[in-house]
């Protein structure tokens, strides 16, 4: 073999490298940079970023049929296993006490889902078919697992940009939400201090809640059952108080392993060929709009509740009526606290936030039910 034949073989990786790959690797490095140096959702962005990096190394074959990324994707994303396992962990971390103690917060969790339907209509208007439009709308609730669950069923071809949008907007909550909060509320509204008079919640109520909710949602919206059931299973492990080991595993090992593999598998779908196209840009734009609309709907509903309650409810908690738990709840509390160092609306915001978590799962289920009948 002479050297001129050997050289292309040695350099084949570089020779197959495209500008698209370079662009996607830059994107991957930005995600990794944000995770490491800005500590923005590192648990998600680090695996997604690294997965994206791997997907853009030509001829590495990690995303080919038998490649490790494809194996992970087929095992956990196509089957919806990873998002459901993540929900077991999320359920074990959620404390429904602030919601059960202040049941009217459930209204904010419902209002926060408006953006899903608003974006769906808009996505249809700019030419997406119904199944894709519905999957894009779910981004608005900033619920990664539900977005993946719905997209896998309705529009698997859009899964990568949808998952990337849901997870990156989740990490951008502290950047996207505050301007909207400031724009839509007056200083006077943000200064409203809220009385915290929780109804005492018994251990029995806490334990019955996940069981009853699973049955009620399951019977009303069967399509939402897998998501709500896994979420509630995790919660039951926690509140029952008798399986501390299982609850701890759900909160740590199970959710961590599922998040790592989900992040990697999703990141690995971000290859230049499949990701760099107009549809991705539209989806990222619509997803951002859906998120903004959800926030706006929540805030406006919060303002309505403020008026109806005689200014005893701080409308900022409306912005927490989305799924991202506990980031959205903490952020609403922080914005109120920044305005007045002695104002703490955390418990109320968390009530709205847990309601938003339930609301997005139910909204996702309703969308699945309606859209799968229509297509």
């Amino acid at each position: 073999m002479n050297f001129t034949e050997l050289l292309p073989e040695l350099l084949k990786g570089i020779l197959h490298f495209t500008w698209g790959n370079a662009l996607m690797i830059t994107a991957a490095l930005i995600l990794i940079y944000l995770a490491i140096y800005k500590e923005i959702e590192p648990v998600l962005l680090l695996p997604i970023g690294f997965g994206c990096l791997l997907a853009n190394i030509p001829l590495a074959n990690m995303t080919a049929a038998q490649g490790v990324m494809s194996v992970l994707y087929n095992a956990g994303i196509s089957t919806e296993l990873f998002p459901l396992l993540i929900f077991v962990g999320v359920g074990a971390m959620i404390d429904f006490t602030p919601l059960l103690a202040q049941p009217k917060m459930a209204l904010l969790g419902a209002a926060g889902q408006f953006g899903i339907f608003g974006t769906l209509i808009l996505a249809i208007a700019i030419g997406f078919p119904l199944n894709q439009a519905a999957s894009i709308g779910v981004i608005g609730a900033i619920d990664g697992p539900t977005s993946i669950f719905v997209a896998t069923k309705l529009a698997p071809e859009l899964l990568a940009p949808i998952a990337v949008a849901a997870y990156s907007y989740m990490s951008l909550i502290p950047i996207i939400q505050p301007p909207l909060m400031k724009l839509l509320t007056t200083k006077k509204e943000r200064l409203i201090q809220m009385e915290y008079t929780p109804k005492p919640i018994s251990q029995k109520t806490l334990a019955f809640f996940p069981i009853v909710l699973t049955l009620v949602v399951g019977l009303l919206v069967p399509e939402a059952t897998p998501l709500i059931a896994m979420l509630m299973l995790g919660n039951l492990l926690k509140v029952s108080g008798v399986v501390d080991r299982l609850s701890k595993s759900a909160q740590n090992e199970i959710i961590n392993i599922a998040t790592l593999f989900l992040g990697l598998a999703i990141g690995a779908t971000m290859s230049a060929e499949s990701f760099l196209n107009l549809a991705t840009i539209k989806i990222l734009g619509l997803g951002l709009l859906a998120f903004a609309l959800d926030t706006v709907a929540g805030l406006l509903f919060g303002k309505l509740m403020a008026v109806l309650s005689g200014y005893k409810i701080n409308p900022l908690i409306g912005a927490a009526g989305i799924s991202a738990f506990p980031m959205a709840g903490r952020l609403a509390a922080r914005v109120a606290n920044d305005e007045d160092q002695n104002n703490f609306i955390l418990m109320h915001a968390m009530g709205a936030n847990t309601a938003g978590q339930l609301g997005s799962v139910i909204a996702g289920g309703i969308l699945l039910a309606i859209v799968s009948k229509l297509i």
């Binding site: 602030p98 201090q193 915290y196 929780p198 005492p200 506990p326 903490r330 002695n342 104002n343």
Partner: protein
Amino acid sequence: MKYVVNVAEKIYEVEIEDLHARPVIARVDGQEFKVSPEDDMKPADQKETRELKSIELSTPTLGPIANTGELTAPLPGTIVEIFAKTGEHIEAGQVILVIEAMKMKNSIRATRAGKIAEVLVNAGQIVAHKQPLVRFG
């Protein structure tokens, strides 16, 4: 839970949902009262029933109370760090301690300047809403 209270020879039946919630919600003869016991710590015998009602029917005070000698917990949670020391002079706005609630750390600041007469809580302690944290001297 129901309590029987005897005030000036008259028997009242008081129903209280949760004694640890702040304010305490009490129902007396179908009327609802919100009471923050730590806020008005006056000697009980000086209080007439009528006076009591007028105090409690007024708008409930929110947040840590500036004009009483105590700083109270604005939200329930666990005390994770205490910065203020007994005898120390602090400025309004200075961080007194940190309460962790829903896995979020909340800096609790002094609502007034003054000397701290007593720190009423310990690190690691779980506090209820409106529970006194420090007493000013």
